[in-house]
Amino acid sequence: MGLIGCGVILASFAVSLGIFFEVKQDGFQPQVITLFEFIKLPAFTIPFAFQVDQLSSLFLLIITGVGFLIHVYSTAYMQEEEDEHYGRYFSYLNLFVFSMLLLVLGANYVIMFIGWEGVGLCSYLLIGFWFKNNNYNYAARKAFVMNRIGDLGFLLAVFWILGKLGTVNYSDVFANASTFSTFEVTAITLLLFVGAMGKSAQIPLYTWLPDAMAGPTPVSALIHAATMVTAGIYMIVRSNVLYNMAPVTQTVVAVIGLATAFLAATIALKQNDIKKVLAYSTVSQLGYMFLGLGVGAYTGAVFHVMTHAFFKALLFLGAGSVIHAMHHEQDIRSMGGLKKYLPITHITFLLACLAISGIPPFSGFFSKDEILAAAYEHNKVLWVVGVITAGMTAFYMFRLYAMTFLGQFRGTHEQEHHLHESPSAMTIPLIILAILSVVGGFVGIPEVFAPNAHALEHFLSPVIAKSSEAAHGLDHGTEYMLMGVSVGLAVIAIIYAWTRFSKKPEIAEPQGAGKFFAEKWYVDELYDAIVARPLLAMANFFKNVIEKSGIDGIVNGVGRGVNYAGRQIRLMQSGQVGNYILLMVLSMVLMIILVFYGNNLNPILNYFSK
């Protein structure tokens, strides 16, 4: 089963490579292939069409490449599962890759939406993969529902575009984008961004992603780090024409992105679950990407998507390897000193940590630097917060690294006895990803090091309008200064974390601000109090009061009223002959009065004769 699962992904990776080399040639025009008409009405037509261009081919490579490695890794990682669940796992995983490819290949917003919801579905299925555990099921449901909130925004934006232009094809929409008024384009882009918030875990819809770590670790690597969560970035880059027309939205995107990056980084400082640290780190890195999008550095964002896919997948897979060795122990307080038991995992993990911390010449340095440079040029405050966040990133990553791999082992003897390096099906993907994490940055060497060396920018230039004119405005001295500051801060953070946590691991429960961070700013509790509970209370109120006594009460009340009236009127039929006769006489008298003196009662009679 694993063979089929991996084989088809390998096949699609091969196809993606073929496409890539074709697209890479100069003068390539985007190709749109229409399979059939999905919905064809007199008012509009939505074709089931795919579009291949530079952006989608790059994403194809990331999805199928990283996806294949993770599939291979999974064949070993999921070996313990029973046969039927093993098969189920791979069918979900392949369904995910299918949906993700649909998302990036679609030639219009509806097809993208199909993939968009499809990956949400797979995410739901895979988070709740071990469905016997109800906590996992809650996490799965939470992920799906939060994604749906975003999806609603996306859907409304699609309706708006459809209503205004009568088409949702990218080419037509972008060609006619100038017909939108500023208000419309701002509203549409904001709605699209709501969609991206849900899928890419931005404030305020980010809380599902850390919970999503309930799924198997390779799933976290593939879906909740490398590919699905970057769908929001893809969507905004795809719509860059629209975003360029809406500066208000761009500011919103940048601010929310940065706020998310900062918030998630503070939370990551105090997490003790190895996967939770990585999850918050993912949220934080996604925030960086949105910062890049908000300041117009589309290439930088895509670049960071790519490098992030490499090193974050590597981190998660490494974490998976650790968890595998530790028999499903995820708390870093019970780890330590794993360096000597898991040599390959250790080395690759270290490389990934260096990459994410932005140490040159690892890949993360180049992409992060590009975003920060663009931010600096846009607004210096953005840059300052960004650099502080980068420092925090380096700190928590090496806190994680030190507590896991350095120092003394703190687990039980039994665990220590079982520690072992993972099988080669798991380590080979680690090694490949490690190589990519190291060298992946060289596709986007900034202008200051070598002119015209930014291959990625050159590659993406046809799909991104005026992509990074921002990054060229800085003189070289400033740019070196910016790099120096961020790298310096990162190095200080690394040294501090290394020395501190390898000797004295942080075991005690955090206090004060630390506790506040460890409890994730109490955001879950806040949402519970302001959204979930009131909604449930309202539902209860509707169910028990309005429905039961209100609407149904009226309906039943009418029934009861008729019943009651019947019972009361029945009493007139007393059975006493005298009463009947009296009634009869009275009626006759009344009739005589009406007939003979009717003219004096004209108003009343007129009413009745109408």
Binding site: Q573, S574, G575, Q576, V577, G578, L582, V585
Partner: protein, 111 residues
């Protein structure tokens, strides 16, 4: 005699009948009151018949003008007689069953 005398007498008789029916409980007395009301109507019919066609009768005493009103009276008398037959027999049956002719005992249909 002016017609009003007849009308007054007839109305008085009729009202006596109505009040009797409404207030008395003895079936036979109610029955007699009903007869009284019928006869009040009879009296009225005859009086009106005579009044409307008074001139015609005076000029030709042998003509049959206005006879229809008086014919009604005969019909009513016949019907009343038939009614008495049925009614009295009901009352007799009722007496046999309940040993009373009080109409207030006859409320069994109520339930």
């Amino acid at each position: 005699m002016p017609i009003t005398y007849y009308i007054t007498l007839s109305v008085v008789l009729f009202c006596i009948g109505v009040v009797g029916v409404l207030t008395r409980r003895n079936a036979i007395i109610i029955f007699m009151c009903v007869e009284l009301m019928l006869n009040a109507v009879n009296l009225m019919l005859v009086a009106f018949s005579k009044m409307h066609n008074g001139n015609a009768i005076a000029s030709a005493p042998n003509s049959t003008v206005g006879i229809d009103g008086q014919l009604f009276v005969f019909f009513i008398m016949v019907v009343a007689a038939a009614e008495v037959c049925v009614g009295l027999s009901i009352i007799v049956m009722m007496y046999r069953n309940t040993h009373s002719v009080d109409v207030n005992f006859l409320n069994r249909l109520k339930n």
